[in-house]
Symmetry: D2
Amino acid sequence: MVSHIGLVGLGKMGHNMRERLRNGGIEVTGYDPRPEVTDVPDLAGLVAALPEGRRVVWVMVPAGAPTRGVVDELGTLLSEGDIVIEGGNSHYPEDQARAAELAERGVGYVDVGVSGGVWGLENGYGLMVGGERDLVEHLMPVFDALRPEGPREEGFVHAGEVGAGHFAKMVHNGIEYGLMQAYAEGYELLAAKDIVTDVHGTMKAWTRGTVVRSWLLDLMVKALEEDPSLTAIDDWVDDSGEGRWTVDEAIDNAVPLPVISAALFARFSSRQTESPAMKAVAALRQQFGGHAVRPAGPASPGAGPLEPPA
Amino acid sequence: MVSHIGLVGLGKMGHNMRERLRNGGIEVTGYDPRPEVTDVPDLAGLVAALPEGRRVVWVMVPAGAPTRGVVDELGTLLSEGDIVIEGGNSHYPEDQARAAELAERGVGYVDVGVSGGVWGLENGYGLMVGGERDLVEHLMPVFDALRPEGPREEGFVHAGEVGAGHFAKMVHNGIEYGLMQAYAEGYELLAAKDIVTDVHGTMKAWTRGTVVRSWLLDLMVKALEEDPSLTAIDDWVDDSGEGRWTVDEAIDNAVPLPVISAALFARFSSRQTESPAMKAVAALRQQFGGHAVRPAGPASPGAGPLEPPA
Amino acid sequence: MVSHIGLVGLGKMGHNMRERLRNGGIEVTGYDPRPEVTDVPDLAGLVAALPEGRRVVWVMVPAGAPTRGVVDELGTLLSEGDIVIEGGNSHYPEDQARAAELAERGVGYVDVGVSGGVWGLENGYGLMVGGERDLVEHLMPVFDALRPEGPREEGFVHAGEVGAGHFAKMVHNGIEYGLMQAYAEGYELLAAKDIVTDVHGTMKAWTRGTVVRSWLLDLMVKALEEDPSLTAIDDWVDDSGEGRWTVDEAIDNAVPLPVISAALFARFSSRQTESPAMKAVAALRQQFGGHAVRPAGPASPGAGPLEPPA
Amino acid sequence: MVSHIGLVGLGKMGHNMRERLRNGGIEVTGYDPRPEVTDVPDLAGLVAALPEGRRVVWVMVPAGAPTRGVVDELGTLLSEGDIVIEGGNSHYPEDQARAAELAERGVGYVDVGVSGGVWGLENGYGLMVGGERDLVEHLMPVFDALRPEGPREEGFVHAGEVGAGHFAKMVHNGIEYGLMQAYAEGYELLAAKDIVTDVHGTMKAWTRGTVVRSWLLDLMVKALEEDPSLTAIDDWVDDSGEGRWTVDEAIDNAVPLPVISAALFARFSSRQTESPAMKAVAALRQQFGGHAVRPAGPASPGAGPLEPPA
């Protein structure tokens, strides 16, 4: 069983995880290109610092090229029996490809979807793991240190073979998009109705005893406490790759995903300064009905001209 | 069979319809509050100008209170056997209520959904009619003058009892929303792809022989001919009541309407200068993940910060 | 302050609420048409059993005609200063109408949206209240007995004027539809992927520490514990009026509601034994492309014929 | 300019295209594995049959492996200056890959999206072409023979570089999904309303003069003429790859596609004999509200139990 691991990537997530691991009794040697936070000068130094036997390196860097670069280099530094844990947000086919490459050298590969954000240091991280059973068992002390207090199965799962951990995390994030949008739509409708005079209070009253209570609702209430009309926050919403992958995956598997896709598209729309599609609709209405269109320019809010539909 | 009717409302639609009716051999006495276009000084004068027997008055004014006011007043001026035609965009329950009121005085009521917009004068108007069979038969010369050339059943239908004409027109407009949005989404995707160097030409090439050819596509091509990037058109799109009623009606009848409702919501979104819902989503992301949010202010386009999803 | 109320309707919800109120020190006289559960023979007996002063009757019967009937009869039995609480699921315009009628007789009206289902007896009920401030204050002992333990504002809100309580509950239920559908879509995608070998375990691992943790997720895990593939449960999902009203209301207020409406439509679809719309799409494909259609009959699952798209 | 081409694939589409090409004065040597329809025994024979100079082979076989196999083999048979036309439904990145491979041998590659289905023989085919300008110009006699009568630009476009032809066709098909679903939803709503007594007549009345008139509408009317309630048609709807690719592409480009994706998901749902997602929603409702669920089994249509929402 492992008691000392290497950790590559000491950003917001990695830094906190190192602390939680150490609090949980796991020795951690961290590497990061930034000299002020790293424990060792380079990946070779990291590997050299790990105890003989089954060496374990947790990779926690941005998905895509950075992860691929680190895993590739580790492949040349590690030996048969060692294990790489990919804890970032890799797309699961990347896991399958990396695992196959490392397997040629006898190096094991385990993918872990990690949830919990900035709250994970304190609350623990939800962990979804993919890989071979014996590797996962070897790594349990690490997972137990990271996951929340309480029964293991409420914050940890060995979801399946390599890729299953990131697949599960991907679906988790897709669900997250849908949940957030559902609360957001309800918030907008409450805020639009004059007979409701306490929107924040209404959502706060949902935090106990109701069907919709959740951690996201708690956060929504917290946000409204800080800024009751969200005046200081722009309506521009980024999306990470995982929401997109979720919809891609649904399409590949012919799974209908109306809610999660609608939530994703709402984010795309939120980032458009103008919508080519809606320009096209406006152009069509002008063509067939002589409906007034607005000349392009600074958006002028307010009710539009009343037009009989053609 | 009727050969002379009254027409109330000489706006964009009514004016053109008067001309097409006259071209079709129907005598028309028009009334409008604007002295420069009206043929008679008031509704009483309009009714007095119609020949004895079964008088017919076509009402073509905005839906809601204006239509209700005109129909109410006509109810006091007309006599048993006369007929009111509601040719505006009334919600069909209004038709049912008006018809019941007029029926108490022996005045008939027929509702007509009229499609064709500014092109109707030249091409003829698609007509969807609701009401009793004998009334509709009496009015056929009027409908034949208005409808497009060609077989009667390709531009006219007696769709059912009172209200069915406007119900059919309402559904027609709901479909129209969906069609327009489908073309608009396709346009946006073509325009977003660098390997496609001729978006206008591509859509024009669809106007013959393809599955998606339609009159709306012709209009789309015309709009792109006038303004290939729709530069001069704002992405603000109004909606008339009929799209909303279509979705309301679907909900009452438990009919799933994912496409038409999505098209309606896209219009709502197009008119928001900022989206309270998306502010809420941004606030939630900030709460749980420490994701950067944009301070409210003039929208700054461009790629957002890369954040690992929590 | 009130210490004894009447309660009309002792069904699943009313019965439990009577028990929680009594446990909380509120005396309750209950009325129900079923002799085996009622405390009094009729509404007149109920009113007579209440202490002099400001009598309070809580109505907890199905929305629509039943609620209207009870409130109407109470209006004739109660006197100036008495209060009716509508705790069912009335549509908020009904509240506004009932309140106006009772106000003519000096009887107060307060609407309360109640959340918590069968778990409310034990956990307490989330309460959203609409009405005049002094009435709400008078009723606080009742609300405090029903709401969950903990800070009052986490399970109770005076959301606004008459109607605001049921409006808030309506939005709560609309959000609930969206949340449930988001989890359900994620569940289906997990279950569709062969590399995920433990769907139940994966969702259980989300119950602590993750962004998507919630009471609904706990219930989802509980359902999967009892029946890991949901084999015994049909995919037929009812909908109550409140989801429909939420979308209707959004349409009236031009609020885009893509997620909540998609969730509602998914329920409509779930109850169709065949979809007229999809028959129409199949018919269209057959017309233009000679695509094979399936003759109507018992659904034959499995992959369809491979056809080049026309 | 080319006057004689090879054509690989004499299925439903290829066979008709050979006939239209020959009617248009283009000599065609066809190859198909089925001896009864082929003009030559194999691909080598096909290439040998073509006149010296710039040989042209049109490939019209199913997308994916079959197309790849044929193009690969042609690459070994053709010489510098020859041209392969991919007229099937290849995904556009396949075009880019094939073109690059053939370019190494000096063989040109042009991709053509072909629309028109079984009607193309008579009406002509809408053509969307991607590739280098000089190649496209060389091939114009072929394209002119295939496209509909009328102005060239109404049935043909050189949309852009290699891949643009199939990209345009992909978007065309995505739009097609949205259009079909819009008509289908409107059909279902008309059919659900008792006051509308002539659904077929109503849609037929839309075929002239209205905003929604189109070729698809004509086909819808034709289908209803043959089977007014679509009784003989199952509600099972296949989807080809192009609708899926359209949504995938939108996701890659952050283009919101609510209507086209909803139409795609409706097809996925139409093919499910039971919906895992809706089973999950039913299970959740049972958990929190004690709502009745239906035991799995033969679907029992009809209204569900009336339940107060929790």
